[in-house]
Symmetry: C2
Subunit: 248 residues, 2 copies
Amino acid sequence: MLKVFDNQYRVNYNDSDYTGRLSIAKLGNYILDTAGLHAIELGISMHQLAKRNLTWVISGMYFSFSSLPKVNSMVVVKTFVKDFSKIACKRDFIVTTENGEKIAEASSQWLVINTITRRPVFLDEVFPSFGEIVNLEEKKVEKNKHLRFSFSNPSAPFKYKVMYSDIDINTHLYSMRYLELSLDVLGKDFFSEYRILSADINFISEVLYNQDVEIYLEEPSNDIRQVEMIRDGSPVFRVEFKIEKITN
Amino acid sequence: MLKVFDNQYRVNYNDSDYTGRLSIAKLGNYILDTAGLHAIELGISMHQLAKRNLTWVISGMYFSFSSLPKVNSMVVVKTFVKDFSKIACKRDFIVTTENGEKIAEASSQWLVINTITRRPVFLDEVFPSFGEIVNLEEKKVEKNKHLRFSFSNPSAPFKYKVMYSDIDINTHLYSMRYLELSLDVLGKDFFSEYRILSADINFISEVLYNQDVEIYLEEPSNDIRQVEMIRDGSPVFRVEFKIEKITN
């Protein structure tokens, strides 16, 4: 079993945004893909869980960025399980260039849910020897920071209906599409003017095919942008971006 | 110079749709990415052209599918320039598994446009020795089949505004997003019930950031689906899918 697992990606043409650099949602694809490969290696993959009507879902992520690479650059993603508790598993990521220069870091929290009840289950019911698999002792996992927003002057809602291309093999909105839609509400010009330093992400509720959501943007200060996705009046996703102006 | 260029892709987690197989829009990403790498090899890349306010745009593609691979499968894309004329360049693709079993084929037509006037330019003005570069004689290139639709009973329009994540380095709607949005109007259940055999695609006009489009679906017969994208009353994109029912 590889305690630290890594995989390489070339920044494909369509992984870059119009500025010619890797988009952070596409970087999110790389890290989730690497997590999936590591889970296969450990024998705890979604494919294995699916046979028992179980699946992994991500509940939160803190994602920070140093410098985003250009099209055709190589990117190395390293991942390892950092901690686990009765119910949650924490997986970290370090993303670098081929030469080891840091591109990004991420820390993510995961639950196993029953795909029929859509409720979380205890990890030790699913994997009786989870500690042995990941070579760690069970302990209390620090909870995600719960983002609490109080929007006083939000943007007009951006209305969206979840489509075929937005859903993943769990038939719900793919986690990195929540993030990508949040980048979309920042608007094109934002990415010429600002750099995103970090994204603090709360996945609050699954969103299913054909459901309608409204996405709101608030600018509480020059260096913070907050985005909230609402379905039927309740939040399903929140992200807080720390940003800085690009100076030439 | 490699006359036939190839590149490999692993079907990443997010390249599959909810059925667990590679989506045809994501396969389209692989083939355009391979075309871009080949163009770099030949010294005719978009990056080279951008310095002269020029870029490649795709005007049409015929795309046929045998069997779409599952997540984590390896896919080999081979591409070569098939023909060129004064104004158009035809590039073909063959997509197989690692073992050479056919996944898909595509034939695409390309123009070079001036990024200021947005008008096509003659290939020999851009590359005085294009024939030598691609090792072919100039000849008449068979035109794309122009799709002509007469929708008698279209679906209600699917309204969409082009977002940051939809545009590519040319700052217009990325060609495979036209196709992906067309798959979206087919709807989720379509992909459990039908297999797409081919997609005959006309890229008629660029669509820019923040522009509004309407997408219409027509079902002229059991084995044909037609999709048209309209902006300001004029068509900007058409695709005709040949389909068959999945029988178990």
